[in-house]
């Protein structure tokens, strides 16, 4: 058990403007389950992408060895050839193809390009038995639930003679039963000598299954804990994950909270494709004038889905619920109606949903309120430029000109353009979804300052963030969301990272009990 399978030394990986990994050393012993934990953006996935060749040799500094041999992978194929297989959070299966076809995708059982279907099927049946799936191998992937799809991914990994299996948040979209089945499978693999790196936010799982727990924070290894004795508790892990100096990361905030502005009552939304999944289940929240309300939660808790479904039903199948503004129910069934009622939603994914990257800054800023720069449908270029320049100055967007193309701006400045767009639409309620994702500390501080200023103007701010310090540092009141429900509501003054995490975990346990019942 004690021989080292994977050893990484001094791994440093930089993205433009961000050091994602700082001199990371990490090792995995043969046949252990090694959990890698940390907040979003701590560098867990980045580290594993280095191991699996997603980031090719040369794109990072440092070296790593697999079975004592130094590795220089150029792509995933090379790492798979060595026996390292990564299963990403977003499953890499082709829904229209069968289980067999997916298992042997790019690894077809063929002679001279002609597939031997008999061999493929018999091998697939064998692999499915190993992962405990009873489906016939010609079942289409689209007919399987997420849990079973995950197992097919693992079967696919096994077909490649895997020695190190890397799972990136394998249970984030699974229910409790499926999660337990998956973890049991990992234990069986351990018995067979297959090592496993498990990236997970579900600390309870980590606690129960891991032999070693490595904590990453801000791209650096904080500690490696030996968990075999069972004395490593959830609280102990959380302390390692979040314990950081919080002075001066947030601007001082003196809130003047006014009357009730917006209430969402008993909001229920189904998944757009899997109609049996109630993704948002009876969520009620409210925000007052001048108040910053944080929504904390892990990825997949349903926060973005909730926000988008409120914003003109831009996500999911609306089931029921009310939106009340200033005491009167309002119609938010389309985006233009939501905007007209003073609601704005600044997306978490600015490149896909927030900006028109091929257009210039001014075009992006005025898009949500073209009426503000036009007269009877005719845009006034001077007015538009003036508006854009005003926001550039007010939000300190670093760009040579408002005619710069948005794609050329840095992440923080792109985020400010998205913010400008919604500020110009002059909403009363601004929903900010992960407004500081992927931007540096200085720009984060500026965005927090803008949030404070908007609240001081009497707007209601709803801040969705996966970074607990951010939620704690910026909000006046915090909702904790888990599994599509509100798990807790607390004043920010009383909240701690531990109390938020506890609320999430309790919800997950309650969910599990519900399933058992």
């Amino acid at each position: 058990m004690s021989d080292v399978l994977l050893e990484m030394r001094g791994i440093t990986k930089e993205f433009p403007g961000v050091k994602a990994l700082k001199d990371v050393s990490f090792s995995v012993r043969a046949g252990e389950i090694h959990a890698l934990v940390g907040e979003n953006g701590a560098g867990k996935s980045t580290l594993m992408k280095v191991v699996s060749g997603v980031y090719p040799t040369g794109s990072y500094d440092g070296q790593f060895f697999f079975k004592g041999e130094e590795c220089h992978f150029h792509n995933i194929r090379e790492s798979e050839h060595k026996g390292i297989v990564i299963i990403h959070q977003e499953l890499a299966l082709v829904p229209q193809l069968s289980i067999t076809e997916n298992i042997f995708l790019a690894n077809e059982q063929a002679t001279n390009g002609v597939i031997n279907w008999g061999l493929s099927h018999s091998k697939a049946i064998e692999l499915l038995k190993k992962v405990g799936l009873s489906e016939t191998p010609d079942t289409k992937i689209s007919h399987l639930g997420v849990g079973k799809q995950q197992l097919v991914e693992i079967a696919k990994a096994l077909s490649k003679n895997v020695e190190l299996l890397i799972l990136d948040e394998p249970t984030s979209s699974l229910n409790e039963n499926d999660s337990q089945a998956l973890l049991q499978l990992l234990r069986e693999f351990r018995a067979q000598g297959i090592a496993c790196v498990l990236i997970s936010h579900k600390l309870k799982e980590v606690e129960s299954v891991a032999d070693t727990i490595t904590v990453l924070r801000d791209g650096a290894v904080i500690e490696s804990l030996d968990a075999r004795g069972g004395e490593v508790t959830e609280d102990r892990i959380i302390r390692g994950m979040v314990g950081r100096d919080m002075t001066h990361r947030f601007p001082p905030r003196s809130a003047k909270i006014g009357e009730m502005l917006l209430e969402v009552r008993n909001w229920k939304v189904r998944h757009p494709i899997y109609e049996d999944q109630m993704v948002i289940n009876d969520v009620s929240i409210n925000v007052r004038r001048g108040e910053v309300v944080g929504i904390a939660g892990l990825m997949g808790a349903g926060r973005t889905e909730f926000a988008m479904s409120v914003f003109g039903r831009s996500w999911g199948h609306f089931v029921s619920g009310q939106v009340v503004r200033d005491g009167r129910e309002i119609d938010v069934s389309t985006i233009p109606k939501a905007v007209a009622n003073g609601i704005a939603y600044a997306t978490e994914d600015r490149k896909t949903y927030g900006l028109i990257l091929i257009n210039d800054v001014k075009t992006n800023i005025t898009l949500a309120n073209l009426g503000g720069v036009s007269t009877s449908g005719v845009i006034s270029p001077p007015k538009e430029v003036k508006v854009a320049n005003d926001y550039r100055d007010a939000l300190q967007i670093k760009t040579p000109s408002v005619k710069q193309i948005a794609v050329n701006l840095s992440g923080g400045n792109q985020q400010k353009v998205v913010l400008s767009k919604w500020l110009f639409a002059d909403p009363d309620i601004l929903i900010l979804d992960e407004p500081t994702r992927g931007i540096d500390v200085g720009a984060k501080y500026e965005i927090y300052t803008i949030i404070n200023r908007l609240a001081a103007e009497g707007k209601g701010i709803i801040l969705i963030s996966s970074e607990l310090p951010e939620v704690l540092g910026v909000s006046d009141r915090i909702y904790v969301m888990a599994a599509g429900r509100i798990a807790a509501e607390m004043p920010a003054a009383d909240a701690t990272q531990e109390s938020i995490m506890k609320a999430i975990m309790q919800m997950a346990r309650a969910g599990a009990e519900e399933v058992v019942l």
Binding site: S314, T352, Y353, G354, I358, I405
Partner: protein, 435 residues
Amino acid sequence: MSANTTTPIIAPADSEAQVSVGRRIAKAVGQGGLLLVLLLFVVFFQVTTNGVMLKPLNVTNVFLQNGYILVMALGMLLIIVIGHIDLSVGSVAGFLGAIVAVLMVGVTVPVLGKIQLDPILAVAITLIAGGLIGVWQGFWVAYLRVPSFIVTLAGMLLFRGATLFMLGGQPVGPFPEGFRAISSGFIPEMIGSVPDPFGTGTPPIAVGPLVVPLGGGPIQLTTLLLGVVLSAFLIFIAFRARSEQLKYGFSVPSMGQFWLRNALIIAGIMFIAYRLAGYKGLPIVALIAFILIGMYMFITLRTVIGRRIYAVGGNAKAAMLSGVNSKRMVFLTFINMGALAALGGMIIAARFNSATPKAGYGFELDVIAATFVGGASAYGGVGTVAGTVIGAIFFGLLNIGMGVMSVPIDYQFMFKALVLLFAVYFDVRTKNKEG
């Protein structure tokens, strides 16, 4: 062409330092490599045809023979910018040409029976019918979410069949004189004409192998005056845009660059006006095209609707989340295309003085090619009216140039194919360097 916004892609200000003279001229004119290629072809044909290419008749023919492509390319531009395609324009134009014919000529046709309407009424009905065809196709694309490629492929067959059905396989014509004027008439001369100052006997100016013929028929003063008015108007707009930019603290091209750019544009306009004036004056089809070009430039550059079309094409999700009703925008661009296809179809019919079952056959390819050569992106969100006009004229010029050179038709096809590839490649390359 206003000074600041001929293309939505704006190069960073610092890329100006180390560009060649040719690129600087091309950039000053605002359409990058394409205009340069166009000018090279003009010179090439001029040399190889011994100066015949730029004779008044041929310059006039560029407009007479390509007016319908220009008109329909404006509609296609919006469709492509919003991220779709319309393969049916040739068939739709043919069908609408047939409609206007049966409404006007007084023949007995299936369903409608025998009708003989006033040409103006017939034209109006045909334009509305074009809009309705746009409603039909736009509804399938925008609201029923069938890919535009499929919807318009079906439309291509549907309206080809409808044309045959309508005409019973027979050409319908001839048309009243007034209607034919759409494609073969010229604006009436209101001032009079003077002899060409260079006279018919003036020897052409030769610059090396390049021969520029001067002198032609009597100069139609109205046409020349329109050229002067248009030039003055463009200078006025350019000046106003420049002073606006200065007012808001933008870096503007130097006065020298400003004048170089405007001088080139005006020289182009005045040369074309002089040539047209030396034949029979401004063709009515060119007048229609110029008015539409002005309108669509305004729509794309200055209106909320235009901006939204570009936004949907640039990032449909982001536009939707910004409150743009993207389905309605797609729907509207198809209605617009239908109306312009009606106009194109009528120009084609008027040109041949009859509606034929084969009219408009394959024209969708010319129209799409003109739009792409003009710099529109197949990914949506990018494309300009100015570019599209140059693209359409480019193909018109190629057709006439090769015709004058008596290039056999087989070679013409192959040559056009290669020119299409290289022109777009050259344009893409220029843009990449600038971006």
